[in-house]
Symmetry: C2
Subunit: 326 residues, 2 copies
DNA sequence: ATGAAAGCGCTAACAT
DNA sequence: ATGTTAGCGCTTTCAT
């Protein structure tokens, strides 16, 4: 087991003091060129790599130039785009991004683990029903996609209420009067807001509503039951893309894909290649990610104003499924 | 700025020595119950959190119970499934997983950043053309999906040659004689192997071949050119799912989706809902992730046998597009 | 411009 | 069973 070289080893090899090595490694300019060259040669030959932990331990005020991102399902195209935007924005600032998958229940553990790893800040898409525990973390936090409960911090979300209301109004314009809502668990603020938008657009005339659909399979079952039941809807608003996909499968199985209109919240790959192509309310995850990253870096740099809530607009993309008349 | 509490603060508050706090925090059993209770109370009231960096600095032999995963495109369903499987396997061992997005060129920086963060090991899907630089890292490494160049380590890959050859043979059985290959850059070992499988199945009778297709748009353009050109193929083998999707778009635009057979390597969401449904050679990313994680933990635990290459079998899933006759 | 000494928060080795 | 001392690899005084 060969010892990992330390600054002391480099100093000995280069025939200089520990501190001189430190200066060279940290790019301080107050070192004579020949000494610096000797140090660099020693660094090379020993394959020395500074020990970030030790460095961070001593200079407690400095930053590790690393932020953490905690996301639910990394495979979700929305999360992936968010993640990528954050990485790019961080790259401009010379910061690294570490990501963690937020399995339900592990949210707290992960956040603490990141915090212990001296990340300078955290961007979190909250899953758990309460984020109070985050208040005790060392590092600043920005929430994205969903709002947090029990803790105030900068938050970047889509215009969920307006986007959902716009989709439903779009269906009303086609003449639909019986419009169903299929959504996720109501403890997610996104689901609550999209449901609220749906209700707002319909006024008193809400159609059938199903909550707590956690995945495409559940949505498919619920849609089939609804469409086969009494007084089926002529149009469906799906509040999340896995639900949209479940509804597509249901309509296909019942051969009703051209008989019942469908608009989904959140775009997804291949939506335009389905039959009929799926009309969606597209979010702008790239902009959300950039915005969240910028907010976080401001906080890291010491910004201490009151927590902000930033809303990113959505766009209705008509592709066919939402333009089927009654 | 209120000072973050240290073990010393806890010791003072609890009226015990520093070492006693250390013992309690680390779950050692050689502490009298009443002292332990006092310590725990102090930890609570001060909201003390151990400083992982300092801890790791002292006990150099111990592990941080954290591994890093370096993946190209986290949004790729294959990568996402891999990632999730690794997280689950690590969870069983009580280990955390940090992920990094491997933008081309940043592979080295990220790997070093993770290594500096005292990860116990790394799982890497190599992108760069050379991985020699990884040899100098502290932590053990396992490669997944693609083989590395310039560095020997455990590697978990799909049976790319056999899977591709099987797909092409499947097309031969339907009577196709002019079968095209559309693939990614040949410096990726996966692309090379799938191309080799294609050639092997066809013997001397290879059809038109296009390499270096980096995304769906490039594949769409290449497919259109090929299908409009002289002597077009009657079947296409796409070596990666973004390419498959590009080919689907091309066929759709030319209204040839039922005239030209298509098999794609790697499954993708909604493949079964397209028209015609897309036949694929499915990989098993969950198994690959589990296998890679297990291999890495063995290495972390000190296994020093020669590097292994583990091949995970693929499965042909006939859905329609690959069963179109000539 | 360079170096010696102290100490970041913690654990290991050794008392007691 | 508990405490004391030293020191991990590094940066920060403070000398020179």
């Amino acid at each position: 087991m060969t010892h990992r070289p330390t600054m002391n080893d480099v100093a000995r090899t280069a025939g200089v003091s520990l501190k001189t090595v430190s200066r060279v490694v940290n790019g301080e300019t107050t070192v004579a060129p020949d000494l610096a060259a000797r140090v660099r040669a020693a660094v090379q030959s020993l394959d020395y790599r500074p020990h970030l932990g030790a460095s961070l331990l001593r200079r407690r005020d400095q930053h590790a130039r690393t932020i953490g991102v905690l996301l639910e399902d990394v495979s979700h195209p929305f999360s992936a785009a968010l993640h990528r935007a954050i990485v790019e924005e961080a790259g401009l600032r010379g910061a690294q991004v570490l990501a963690g998958i937020l399995d339900e229940g592990r949210e707290r553990d992960l956040a603490v683990a990141f915090d212990q790893r001296q990340t300078d800040g955290l961007i979190v898409a909250p899953m758990a029903t309460n984020q109070t525990y985050l208040a005790s973390l060392r590092a600043p936090i920005v929430f994205v996609d969903r709002e947090a409960t029990g803790m105030a911090a900068d938050t970047v979300v889509s215009t969920n209420v307006a986007g959902a209301a716009g989709a439903v109004r779009h269906l009303l314009v086609q003449g639909h009067r019986r419009i169903a809502y299929l959504g996720d668990r109501r403890n997610l603020t996104t689901a609550r807001d999209r449901h609220r938008g749906y209700l707002r657009a319909l006024g008193g005339r809400a159609g059938p509503v199903v909550h707590d659909l956690r995945d495409a399979a559940a949505a498919e079952g619920a849609a089939i039951a609804m469409l086969r039941g009494p007084d089926p809807p002529t149009a469906i608003f799906a509040a999340r893309s896995p639900i949209t996909i479940g509804v597509v499968r249901a309509l296909r199985r019942l051969r009703m894909e051209n008989a019942v209109a469908l608009i989904g919240f959140d775009d997804f790959p291949l939506a335009d290649l389905l039959d009929p192509p799926v009309t969606v309310v597209a979010q702008d995850p790239a902009r959300m990610g950039r915005t969240a990253a910028l907010a976080l870096f401001e906080r890291i740099d010491g910004e201490i104003s009151a927590p902000r809530e930033i809303r990113i607009p959505t766009t209705l993309i008509p592709r066919g499924s939402g333009e089927l008349a009654v």
